[in-house]
């Protein structure tokens, strides 16, 4: 044991009559790295010298409080005690574990850690199991004996698997830590407004209704041109470039045949009648030109 280690042992731990609390604190003393090589006990517990501390229990004294607070409850603490000594969870030496458990409870009390009631409840449970282990077990109704530890073992295992599950979940790749959702802008983000759908039938019914209403209000019936003519009127109009003359013959498409020519001709006549177009011919037999009316 090094000088440093000797000095780290509280001087009164070895000389004064040890109290249980001192024993506990010494027991936790992490500065004793190789207790098995110690010449003298570093703590006296219940009158017996203690020369070994758990190998894994290496905590800077400042961190002691943090360490104790890190337990997630009595089950967590018990699991720690069992693991620390490589004990089989199915065969816990109850007396041992109970004693160690009580040490920690005392330590927590001394450090004035807020001690949840569950810790004390567990102390009672352990004490009860310990006494039942000592007493002859009365056979249960079906004649079989139950291990007094069975319920505790079940709870410890159940807790342990969720303790492990929590670690597993923590290890899962996680948004913001291990992976990042992507996002980009749309160059031109316009909210597309979906256009309402219209059924042809709706349109026709709308026309029927509006005409029925118009009939009620008007005293005369407007004469209707065949729709093909009105459609062609629109087409002719849209082909006319405002302010310029369009050759009359170019309005006709030979591929449409005789019928098409007649429809176009009727459309032109109708447009003339409605003074929507002007026909211009500079001299007899010269090409006829068409222009939209009233645009110079």
């Amino acid at each position: 044991m090094s000088e440093a280690q000797r000095q780290a042992v509280p001087p009164d731990a070895a000389t004064d009559p040890p109290t249980e609390r001192q024993a506990d604190v010494a027991h936790m003393n992490p500065n004793v790295e190789h207790p098995q090589q110690a010449e003298m006990p570093f703590a006296i517990v219940q009158g017996a010298p203690v020369t070994q501390i758990p190998q894994d229990l290496y905590i800077p004294p400042d961190a002691l409080e943090v360490f104790l607070e890190a337990f997630e409850g009595p089950l967590d603490l018990l699991l720690y005690l069992i693991k620390r000594q490589n004990l089989d969870i199915l065969d816990i030496p109850i007396a041992d574990i109970t004693r160690q458990y009580m040490h920690y409870i005392e330590l927590m009390k001394d450090l004035r850690l807020e001690l949840a009631g569950e810790y004390l409840l567990m102390a009672a449970v352990l004490a009860e199991i310990k006494s039942r282990m000592l007493l002859p077990r009365p056979p249960s109704e079906d004649g079989e004996e139950e291990d007094p530890r069975a319920e505790l073992v079940r709870r410890l295992q159940e807790y342990e698997r969720f303790k492990k599950a929590a670690v597993d979940i923590d290890d899962l790749p996680r948004v913001g830590r291990d992976l990042y959702p992507v996002g980009t802008e749309l160059a031109e983000r316009k909210v597309l407004k979906l256009q309402p759908q219209v059924d042809l039938q709706e349109l026709i019914l709308a026309f029927r209704d509006v005409m029925a209403r118009a009939d009620m209000f008007s005293s005369h019936q407007v004469e209707r041109e065949p729709l093909s003519v009105r459609e062609r009127m629109s087409q002719v109009l849209s082909r006319l470039t405002p302010g310029s003359f369009t050759p009359f013959v170019t309005l006709f498409d030979p591929e449409e045949g005789r019928q098409g020519a007649v429809v176009t001709f009727l459309a032109v006549l109708e447009l003339l009648k409605e003074t929507l177009i002007d026909l211009v011919q500079n001299e007899p037999f010269a090409p006829i030109h068409v222009k939209a009316a009233g645009q110079g």
Binding site: L200, A214, F217, R230, M233, S234, L237
Partner: protein, 195 residues
């Protein structure tokens, strides 16, 4: 683990940031000792731009830095992510559209004469935006009102080859009579046959 290529680090950072990053910000992603020179970052950005060619995403420098954006070419599909659910067209719009279809070329005033009410500008605007109607000229009367006609798109939408495939008013009247006679509901099937 091998360090990924700089351009992929740049790409990942721009994608994760979800907004523009300056080259200086990109450089900050590296420890000083491992930071590639500035020109490498520009090269990475240009390499990415090349990679993205023809893919509908692009890398672009805007005021606050470089960003990856979805190009306009994708708007017809991607824009639908934010589209609003369609409403239904008003009766007024349908009647106006029907009058334009049956009575084209027709001015707003003429539509109003038949309907007996004013035609709101938003109705005309909606139909123009939808490319169902267009202005084919102006009537040579005071005010020179626009004349509206239906378009090729209108015919396509309603699956018509030409306007004369629309049932005539006479046919509609017959239909009315038939409906009354047979006590039908709406003569859906009959009308569809006409289309």
């Amino acid at each position: 683990m091998r360090t990924p290529a700089l351009k992929y680090i740049v790409e990942a950072a721009l994608l994760a940031a979800g907004g523009p990053l300056k080259v200086e910000q990109l450089m900050e992603l590296f420890d000083e000792g491992e930071r590639p020179p500035k020109q490498d970052f520009f090269k990475a950005l240009h390499d990415l731009a090349d990679d993205y060619a023809g893919r509908g995403i692009e890398i672009k420098e805007v005021a606050s830095g470089w960003r990856i954006q979805v190009g306009e070419v994708m708007a017809p599909w991607v824009g639908r992510l934010w589209e609003e659910k369609p409403s239904r067209y008003s009766r007024a719009l349908l009647e106006t559209l029907a009058l334009i279809a049956y009575r084209q070329p027709i001015t707003r005033g003429e539509i109003e004469d038949v309907r007996g009410v004013t035609v709101s500008s938003s109705i005309i605007k909606t139909m123009l935006e939808r490319d169902w109607v267009r202005v084919v000229g102006h009537r040579d009367v005071p005010g020179r009102p626009a004349m509206y006609a239906t378009t090729r798109q209108f015919l396509d939408y309603f699956n018509l080859k030409a306007l004369d495939e629309l049932p005539s008013l006479a046919e509609l009247r017959d239909l009315d009579a038939l409906t009354a006679q047979l006590d039908f509901g709406l003569p859906a099937a009959e009308v569809e046959e006409e289309s």
